[in-house]
Symmetry: C2
Subunit: 276 residues, 2 copies
C-alpha cells in the first residue's frame, strides 16, 4: 500500500486490529498517534508508542488531543462496546452532537456514518478505511486454505448471506450460523465469538454448520468492517463448524497466515464469497 | 369455547401447553388421546390419560396409532426441537413425505405448513389451532396487568416488532430484546428463555430492555403460535427487563392469572400490541 505522509491518528477499540495498524505504520515509517478508548482498547497496544486514553463520551478532549498532536488523517479500528446514553456520560461537545443526530434512533452503522461525517465535514479531519493501510488483509474471493465448501455447505452459505443482508438492512448484526438449513444463531450485540460459542450447544447431528459473516448493505466501509482472525477459527473448530464464509473484498483478516494455517490443520474451510 | 364432539388427538411437544389442553378437554368432557413426541414432551403429561409415545421420525406409526384410537381432529401443541435429517431417522412414511416437500429447504413455519397440509389433505384429519381449545389464553390488546410501557419502552417495542416482522419473513425466530434502541439479542433456534438469559449479561445501564415476541407474517396459526408463561416473566425479571410485549390476538398465555400476578409483583409490564 502507498502510505500517505500525514500523521495517522489511530482511534483504537478492542481486539488486535489496532496493533496491526501500528505495525504497518512502523514498517512504512509513517508517523502516527494512538487514541485508545478506555474500557475497549487493550492497554498493551500503548506500550512504547505515542498515545493517550479517553472515555468514549469525551469527544471535546479527544479532538483537542488529536489536534495538539498534529493528526490530520484518522482510522477507526477495533470494536467498541456501544453504551447506553447514561453510561456514555457525554461531554458538552458529544452531547450537542448526539442531540443533533438522535443517538437512540440510530443503529451501529447509522451512528458510525454520522460520526465519520462529523469528523470530516465539521472537524476537518480525513477518515480513511483500515484496508487502505492493511491492504493485504482483505479477504479475496474463493477458498483461502486447502479446504473448500461442499454442496451442503454452499447451500448453508447462500442461506446465511440471505439472512445477513436482511439483518444488515435493519442494522443489527454481521454474522449467522447455519447448519443443514437450520439457523442455529443470529448475532446481535454479543459479538461473533459469543455467537459461535452458544451454537456449540445448539448443534445437530450430521455435517456441522457454517459461520457466515458479512458487511451490511451500504455499510460505511471506514468503520466496523467485518473482521475474522485465528481466534474466530479456534472458536469455529471448538463449536464443530465446518467452515467460515466471509464477504470477499470487504472483510478484514487478522493474521492471515496464522488464520489459514489453523483452518488447514483443523480441516475446515475459510472462503471469500463475492457479493451478489 | 364450544368444544367439538370428535375425539381430539393432542400431538404433544415440550412445555406446559399440552397439559393445559388436556385440562381443557377434561373440563368439557371432551374425549382425547395424547401422542407424545419422545425427547420433547414432558413424560409427566401422560400420567393417567390415554396416550402413546412416538419418535418424531416415526410418521407411519404415529398415523396408525391415531387411527386405531379413533382420533378425527388434531391439535399440535408445545415446541419440538427440530432435528437434522440424520437425527430424525425418518421411517418410510416420513422419508417419502420429506423427500416430496424438501425438508432441508424449509424453515420451521414452512415445514409446519407442509405437515398440516399433509395431515388434512392426504391423511384425512382435521387440524385445529390451540386457541380454539384454550380461547381465553390468547393475549388481548393493551396492558394485561397494573403496569404499562412508558415512552422509551414504547419506542423499543415498535423497533422490536419491526425486527420480528423482518426476521419472521425469513422464518427464523419469534423474539427479540431491545434496550434504549440497542438490539441486545435476536432469537434463532435457542428459544426465548435462552435469549432472555443471555441478554442479562449484555444489558446496558439505565432503563432496562423489553422482550418483544410475535408471530411471523403469514404464520400458520395451527402450530407454533408465540407463547409466554410465568417462566417467561421470571426470566425477564432476572434479566432486568422492564416488560414483555406480544402480538395481540395471536400469542398464547400459559397460566394467565399467575403470569399477570408475577409481572405485577415484579413491577414489569405485559402488553398485547395490535398487529399493524
Amino acid at each position: 500500500m502507498v502510505a500517505s505522509g500525514a500523521k495517522l491518528g489511530i482511534l483504537a477499540g478492542a481486539g488486535e486490529l489496532p496493533l496491526r495498524v501500528i505495525e504497518a505504520c512502523r514498517a512504512t515509517n509513517r508517523p502516527f498517534f494512538v487514541l485508545g478508548f478506555e474500557g475497549s482498547a487493550d492497554p498493551a497496544i500503548a506500550a512504547g508508542v505515542p498515545h493517550a486514553w479517553v472515555r468514549l463520551g469525551a469527544a471535546g478532549e479527544a479532538l483537542r488531543i488529536l489536534r495538539e498532536n498534529g493528526v490530520a488523517e484518522l482510522v477507526m479500528v477495533g470494536g467498541v462496546k456501544r453504551p447506553s446514553v447514561l453510561q456514555l456520560r457525554p461531554d458538552w461537545h458529544a452531547a450537542k452532537f448526539f442531540a443533533r443526530i438522535g443517538y437512540r434512533a440510530l443503529g451501529d452503522d447509522g451512528l458510525l456514518k454520522a460520526v465519520i461525517h462529523e469528523l470530516e465535514e465539521v472537524e476537518g479531519f480525513r477518515v480513511v478505511g483500515v484496508e487502505s493501510i492493511l491492504g493485504s488483509a482483505v479477504a479475496p474471493e474463493g477458498p483461502l486454505g486447502r479446504h473448500a465448501p461442499d454442496e451442503q455447505a454452499r447451500q448453508d452459505i447462500a442461506q446465511g448471506f440471505r439472512i445477513i443482508r436482511a439483518l444488515g438492512a435493519l442494522d443489527i448484526g454481521q454474522a449467522v450460523v447455519v447448519q443443514q438449513g437450520l439457523v442455529l444463531g443470529v448475532e446481535a450485540i454479543e459479538g461473533t465469538d459469543a455467537l459461535i460459542e452458544r451454537c456449540r450447544a445448539l448443534r445437530r447431528e450430521g455435517p456441522g454448520g457454517v459461520l457466515v459473516k458479512g458487511a451490511k448493505p451500504g455499510q460505511e466501509r471506514r468503520a466496523d468492517l467485518p473482521t475474522i482472525g485465528p481466534r474466530t477459527i479456534a472458536a469455529a473448530v471448538a463449536a464443530g463448524l465446518r467452515g467460515v464464509a466471509v464477504d470477499a473484498g470487504s472483510t478484514i483478516l487478522i493474521d492471515r497466515a496464522e488464520l489459514v494455517a489453523a483452518a488447514d490443520r483443523a480441516g475446515i474451510f475459510v472462503a471469500g464469497v463475492p457479493a451478489t
